[in-house]
Symmetry: C2
Subunit: 227 residues, 2 copies
């Protein structure tokens, strides 16, 4: 079978790419909605975001099936094989990001009726960076763009710093006024969930670099300038 | 190629099973050490647990390579194909469990010099259940034992309840005496990390059921009595 001239096979690979981007777009929306539900105290939006998780889970199963079918019927080699096995691993991260958006929505529901501690500024900023990291990690995946993947890994520090900052600020609220503890904990968990979303995006980016370069940059002390 | 009579191929599959169990054994030890470092205020053990993460990451890369090689050279079908693709996904969970053990060790270091809030009872219990879930999820994987995998999924509630209980208890500490807040937060994060370890084990068990039965039990409202 002359793999690279097989039109149907190419279409299946494109289909896989499209599905991954679709799943990514969906969880990206989930993140934005969850945080908007929080800041706007919009219970209906929080509930809609939670319900949307079914669509994410359906795509998860569909993509895994697509990958397994491609592996079984097309017996891809080298580059395509690495692409498909990476896709298999990426769906797990995307599915978990969807779970995080559900968790944020649940906290948003809890916080919707409580008086706010202060206007939300850093949380939406964190969400924006995390969503951008997610989008770019998937762009890096479909384009096999390691420079973009490395950018994503670098952004992770930014999110970690914001999370640290939010943590310290909420801690001082709690110490000053124990009445704020329950609410502060709610926001603190949301900040943690966003940090984990950024972690998942970073994992995807690391897998893209491994896929293209065969080189693992996980757990290195310092990121290389290029890969 | 008569796949099922090919001795070398069978050896490679056994090798894959063995590697997964080795990686699982290693992260299981990491969990036990991290929690022992916490309860015994043993800084050296916490640091050793953190260092051990390199071995886990090395196994992660090795197993992925093994899977990709098997897919490329053996072109496995049906059952073996599902086994190998599930192995590829499981390493991600195992690697993250290792990260959680590192996080617990880091908190253990922070808490080592602070006076304790109360004796640790629920945290070690939670760690024990989570470690057992991990072990059983991997046993279920290598034996394709869906009944055992379903047991693991059921245990997740137990861990969630303990986490809830620890959370409420620490919250009351914090509200009564704001001086305990920083320490209580440290313990609270550890409890969260253990809950996530149990989540990863549950994810592995769910993937095992999907591998064997081709049926997804993720995100169902209620677990079925059997699969």
């Amino acid at each position: 079978m002359a793999i690279h001239t097989d039109r149907k096979y190419e279409e299946e690979l494109s289909d896989l790419r499209r599905h991954i981007l679709e799943m990514g777009g969906l969880v990206e929306k989930q993140i934005a909605w969850a945080v908007q539900a929080l800041t706007a105290r919009d219970r209906a939006l929080a509930e809609a975001t939670i319900r949307k998780d079914h669509a994410v889970n359906r795509l998860d199963v569909e993509i895994d099936d697509l990958c397994i079918r491609l592996l079984a019927l097309r017996q891809p080699a080298a580059r395509d094989l690495r692409f498909i096995t990476t896709a298999l691993k990426i769906t797990t991260d995307l599915e978990r990001i969807g779970d995080m958006a559900v968790n944020i929505s649940e906290r948003a529901l809890e916080l919707a009726d409580a008086p706010s501690l202060k206007p939300y500024i850093d949380v939406p900023r964190m969400a924006e960076i995390a969503a951008r990291m997610l989008r770019e990690s998937l762009d890096a995946f479909v384009r096999e763009d390691t420079a973009l993947a490395l950018d994503v890994c670098r952004s992770d520090d930014e999110v970690d710093n914001l999370n640290e900052q939010i943590f310290r600020e909420l801690l001082s609220f709690m110490i000053e006024d124990p009445q704020t503890i329950t609410r502060a904990m709610g926001v603190l968990f949301i900040s943690k969930y966003l940090e984990r979303i950024a972690d998942h995006a970073t994992n995807i980016a690391e897998m893209v670099i491994f896929m293209v370069k065969g080189k693992s940059i996980r757990h290195v002390e310092e990121l290389p300038p290029t890969v």
